[in-house]
Symmetry: C2
Subunit: 515 residues, 2 copies
């Protein structure tokens, strides 16, 4: 049996797509460029615009559209030969609520206040109430904006909990809204809005957004990596030094620059510098251009950062079939540490931070229920007719595992899980031999970074003294916005990118031109 993690189809596609693209745009590495020191204006500007947007994923597109609609001449620089960033690779989910037309049409009540209560609690320690409020209050408007751009959501709800919706249904629970702890905080409502199409529909979501960028007349340069920000002697960001058609060019930004270049999960050195536990994950979610270049460019202009120690870590047990949630997740000491029915980011986080070597323990009855498609991605650490034997086979402390299983079984036979309040549908004693230990390590966790430049509620980039860096905005994973210790639900990153990208685009377009 292999102990190597297996790459899922989705991940293969992402790795493949990203790797190919990077090879083409390879010269865009920032590692060799000079330090981003305060610079005088160049002798000559090679191009100019009102607004320069760095990165054409969801955030950059939203910023470009709003800036363009406000009358600004917009130039967009994209490192890759294709647009879309992580948004085109995503599952096609946008986390929205507060009573969207789709929520109402499918019979769900929601309010901005309930959404806020859930998101603030779910985002965990370090969440910014004001930013979460902005997200929630802009949520219905985002839905309308997407629909107006031509994005469609089917008027249907799919029951269950989904990190990725496998059907073409429009609405799903994609977070931890139904889990006991959070149900007590706010009445649950499904908020994962799934773009109509088969399964993971980032590729369906993206074209109408990109068409929106083109509709406002933005000039888009591909294979055009930004190198650093140009800052004048007053500290105002006045342009970007970038490679365009293979040449270094100074591009003037008369009003300002919006950094939307993604996170830094693909940059192992930065991960080691800020959130080293996440090196335990072997699956970066997103593109290989998520190398933190936008964050570092911002820092070079004096920007502060926020929550660089945290990241998104996903490992949903239900992804392999809901039956697997009936198993118990234990670490190499044989101890449970989280309810198996939690949204995958709660599970992923627990694996990464405290229990890197873990296993799902199931009996034959559960194993029989796990769909073949799920089993395909699972490997066994052991199989045995008794729990102590299973523990020995899988190198789990035998004595401890037996105590855990006995304790669990005794209560599960009454339908109870006093330790983690797992939903009673999943609480059954493990008693049908043989028993299986399924490898479930931190290495399999998918991760991307959520810390980034510190921004205000207006998406202005802030310096270490809490003041805006004049002329500089950021959105998407380039900035920290909503998710903190925890990730509220699938579709939050796309939601953050679009909501704060729109805010940034409106803000930068409204700045007074400096030249």
């Amino acid at each position: 049996m292999s102990s190597e993690p297996q790459m899922t189809r989705r991940e293969l596609i992402k790795k493949g797509a990203a790797a190919g693209a990077v090879a083409v745009a390879g010269t865009g590495s920032l590692s060799g460029c000079s330090p981003a020191t305060p610079s005088n204006l160049p002798q000559k500007w090679d191009r100019e615009a009102d607004v320069v947007v760095v990165g054409l994923g969801g955030a950059g597109a939203a910023a470009a559209i709003e800036a363009g609609r406000a009358g600004a001449k917009v130039t967009v620089l994209e490192r890759m030969p294709v647009a879309g960033g992580s948004t085109v690779l995503c599952g096609g989910l946008v986390y929205m609520g507060g009573g969207t037309p789709l929520q109402r049409a499918t019979g769900f009540e929601d309010s901005s206040e309930n959404m806020y209560k859930y998101m603030l609690a779910a985002a965990g320690e370090g969440a910014d109430p004001a930013m979460v409020r902005i997200y929630c209050d802009n949520s219905v408007d985002l839905y309308d904006w997407l629909v107006e751009l031509g994005v469609t959501f089917k008027r249907s709800y799919i029951p269950g909990k989904w990190a990725a919706v496998p059907t073409d249904d429009g609405l799903a629970y994609t977070g931890n809204e139904l889990q006991a702890t959070y149900r007590a905080i706010a009445p649950p409502a499904p908020r994962g809005h799934h773009v109509q199409g088969p399964g993971e529909t980032g590729f369906v979501l993206w074209p109408p957004i990109k068409a929106g960028v083109e509709a406002v007349g933005a000039e888009i340069y591909y294979e055009a990596p930004a190198q650093r920000l140009v800052v004048n002697s007053e500290g105002r960001v006045v342009g970007v030094l970038a490679e365009v058609y293979g040449l270094e060019e100074y591009i003037k930004a008369r009003r300002g620059v919006v950094l939307c270049a993604g996170g830094y999960a693909a940059n192992k050195e930065m991960v080691a510098q800020h959130c080293p536990l996440y090196l335990r994950s072997q699956f970066q979610v997103g593109t290989l251009t998520d190398d933190g270049s936008g964050i570092r460019m911002g820092q070079g202009a004096g920007a502060d950062v926020r929550m660089m120690g945290d990241a998104f870590a996903y490992s949903g047990i239900y992804e392999f079939g809901q039956a697997l949630v009936k198993g118990i997740l234990v670490d190499d000491k044989g101890r449970r540490f989280i309810g198996e029915d939690n949204y995958g980011t709660w599970v992923g986080k627990a694996l990464i931070e405290g229990h890197p070597v873990s296993y799902v323990i199931v009996d034959q009855a559960i194993w029989d229920e796990v769909p073949e498609l799920g089993k395909k991605y699972l490997t066994l650490a052991g199989q045995a007719d008794s729990i102590p034997e299973l523990a020995r086979a899988a190198k789990i402390a035998p004595d401890l595992l037996e105590n855990t299983v006995n304790f669990y079984n005794e209560r599960a036979s009454r339908g109870e899980d006093p330790e983690f309040l797992k939903d009673e549908r999943y609480v059954v004693p493990l008693e049908n031999r043989p028993f299986y230990a399924i490898n479930y390590p931190a290495a399999y966790v998918g991760f991307f970074t959520t810390g980034g430049l510190k921004i205000s509620g207006k998406a202005e980039v802030l310096n270490a003294f809490g003041k805006p860096v004049p002329g500089l905005y950021a959105a998407g994973r380039n900035a920290f916005a909503v998710t903190a210790e925890q990730y509220p639900g699938s579709g939050t990153s796309v939601g953050e990118a679009l909501i704060f990208g729109r805010i940034a685009g409106k803000g930068v377009a409204a700045l007074e031109a400096w030249s």
Copy 2:
């Protein structure tokens, strides 16, 4: 019974001293100053020196001494009316090893390699091998340097494990060297070098160091808060804007500036921004001027930061008497999560990050052994004749606590702790009623920050592109150096401050003057 944390004598002194000092230096707040944008040179410099050191604690003093000895004219700016920073308030421990004269004199063998192995493992995820190596390789030299300055260490060893040495003995185990996990990694040696004097002797350590600063002729300005760095058009740090005698002055630094202004534990806003879980602690260790001003000044000049998500968190169970280690530490779910004999930073971290509501469970036999001095700082959450009753009294899940105690007792009666490998001296079953639940929450954890400016092994401050910010050095808690996920042992912060402070002082003095 009060659920309020009790302030220890030491903490009271620290808070009191710091609060008083800050009131005097009150106008030095950075919150109102203008953003640290690239600035042209001032029309006129009010003072000048070769080297300006910001902050006169251990790091600043070491930098000033070395720069002065190298022939530089040194100016030191200290916000407080007195010198010493956190160093004068510390326990008088310096973590050194690799075969110091004191280690040898007390019969302990140690090598730089063994010290390195322990420190690298103990510092945990995110530790920088090169920086740890520098610390270890400079350790014996630091000992000699201190002795030459007039610091004395008694040639005696005190057995046991001590976060603070209560006697005047010279050498102690102050980290996790003896704990099972780490003993397997490197042969243990005591490395806590305790400055001779009664108990916590930071106040004994400090005067000879300060005298060393005066001996090199450094000009020291008190109540002189630095406001921001002055950066020329090439991005070189050329001076400091500071308040001196109540007036804003530009102080030219012909060679460079060394930032030694401490961490940011006293700045709740920065803690919330970078490591919000530590807001769970109610005891900041250090001075109230640890507000991150030095870190932010560095960022304003383009500096990068490192490991801002982690911090030192201390809660040593043995501090209340070694007997208490015989109890079991459980959270509100009644589950153990760490061996009770671990060095207090392992325990503190576990409380802060995962188990903020916790209790030490003991029986009457253990309780009788806890010294009165220890009991004075402890409060009870409950007392009862059976474990389920105790659990109900203390609001711990009863069923779970009973299982934990039964499981523990069964093995403890054989002298075993298979879960956490607690030292067998502390492994006894809890069976003498009544039982006690002692409050042991994250709120009582003492903390200070360990993340800071990113520096090279030469203590040069690095920008986000990995290049030095010309003319800028940092040391002590103002920078990240050695401690990462974990804190290797008491005396490490003073050691880091002195070792990297010395390196910074030598480095900045060797820079070519820009004017």
